[in-house]
Symmetry: C2
Subunit: 237 residues, 2 copies
DNA sequence: TAGATTGTTAATCGATTAACAATC
DNA sequence: TAGATTGTTAATCGATTAACAATC
């Protein structure tokens, strides 16, 4: 409850903040910078929750274990959000980062594959926090179709094309088995969906067409951890 | 079943392969290289599944959408795994990558937090594929404690220190709420566990002590996708 | 005003790619 | 042997950090 109140507050703040007249992007932004933006988003949320209203690049750098230089460089790819001698207004900066990341665009998503992972994602507050609305789930199993998960209806995959004709969908979350990934991706693309968040393990490469794909491999992170554990074991012996 | 057979085959192959006398690591390996290793692991598995026994850096580069130069550079951080004029033996290369990543070290993990995400991870074949053995789960909720998830017993969190005294544990998977993250991490560290795979959203920073931490933020990837969707929307208008 | 801190340019560092001699 | 492809060095490219003038 308290948490939801926070969500509301934060989003109200966004509307309250006067938008800068500077453009949202200055030239091409490097992939390295883009990948860091969600982390700023997370830390700024936390600062707002703590009631902090103003922060310097130096202080934020300390909290995030990065250099102040990097923070200033990163933010200046999108505009001058700070003020000399003062630092950054936390609410304003958060609002700008949200703008850049498309929070508040009201993107609508469907989850395809209502297995363990699909269910867990459906129940996760992550989508809500990032302004993404999960409007439906799809599966092929008659045992699951017709059920409701966390307020989201599970439909038969056969109904997917018709559903997409009637409802605008921006993002398809693929949480089905690897073997079904390619076929599902085809259906998603032919339904005109432009964003694919792919958990299937089968990497999807659409070249440089109109479709944006994010391939997620949770296991890669586990392996990085194991690499480091193993490396330390080796060094000791 | 068929899949399990594949697992067995692959791991048998590892044992069959004669180990190189060259060292496992040549000097310091850059973070960029390390982060790419799991992707080689995945693609090599797939090649083995397809029955491919030999591959050149050029061919692998084509499949993985990277440069052949990068592949050769990456692999040569760990040793000369190929043969001039021939390329790489897929099984041998896979075995070497497994060695480097600690697959086959038989690392033992516990999952702390048996909520949606913890359950979904417990049921995921990912751990098994990477040679990590999930031996127990822990939770504070009396509704869950005592149950079995995918063959893994859920214990009361109160029993955690005693359990760790009696069983060697390498990795703690944290899938509990953000608010409980710091306390859980303390318990994990004082139990002598050296690897933390952290899904709580609260980043854990243990400095450069003996503990290895991997902080996972699934939502970051969603935001990167949204950034790109949003950017394209902006460019069109 | 004086002090603080940004925005931005220049310098450094690291990572990727290209090229080719070594060699199977 | 001739052809192919690696391993490795050198060249390029991109990303990070340092420095400082601009300015609030």
């Amino acid at each position: 409850m308290d948490k939801n109140k926070f969500e509301k507050d934060v989003f109200l703040d966004i509307d309250d903040v006067e938008m800068s007249d500077r453009g949202v992007v200055r030239g091409n932004v490097s992939p390295a910078v883009i990948k860091r933006l969600p982390r700023y988003f997370r830390y700024l949320r936390e600062l707002i929750r703590q009631g902090k209203s103003r922060i310097s690049s130096g202080e934020l750098a300390e909290i995030m274990s990065v250099t102040a230089s990097q923070i200033r460089q990163d933010l200046n790819c999108f505009g001058g959000f700070g003020q000399q001698g003062y630092g950054y207004n936390v609410n304003y900066l958060y609002a700008k980062i949200c703008d850049i990341l498309g929070v508040g665009c009201g993107y609508r998503a469907v989850i395809i594959g209502a297995g363990n992972l699909g269910m867990a994602l459906a129940r996760n507050p992550m989508f809500e926090k990032r302004g993404v609305d999960v409007v439906a789930m799809f599966d092929v199993s008659p045992n699951i179709v017709g059920k409701t998960v966390s307020g989201i209806q599970v439909y038969d995959m056969k109904a997917f094309p018709a559903y997409c004709d009637e409802n605008h969908i921006d993002i398809a979350v693929l949480t089905l088995p690897k073997e079904a990934a390619v076929e599902a991706a085809k259906q998603v693309i032919s339904a005109g969906i432009e964003g694919i968040w792919n958990f299937t393990g089968k990497e999807i490469d659409t070249g440089d067409g109109p479709v944006v794909v994010e391939n997620v491999h949770i296991g890669d992170s586990l392996m990085t951890l194991c690499y480091e554990l193993c490396r330390r074991d080796r060094e000791q012996s």
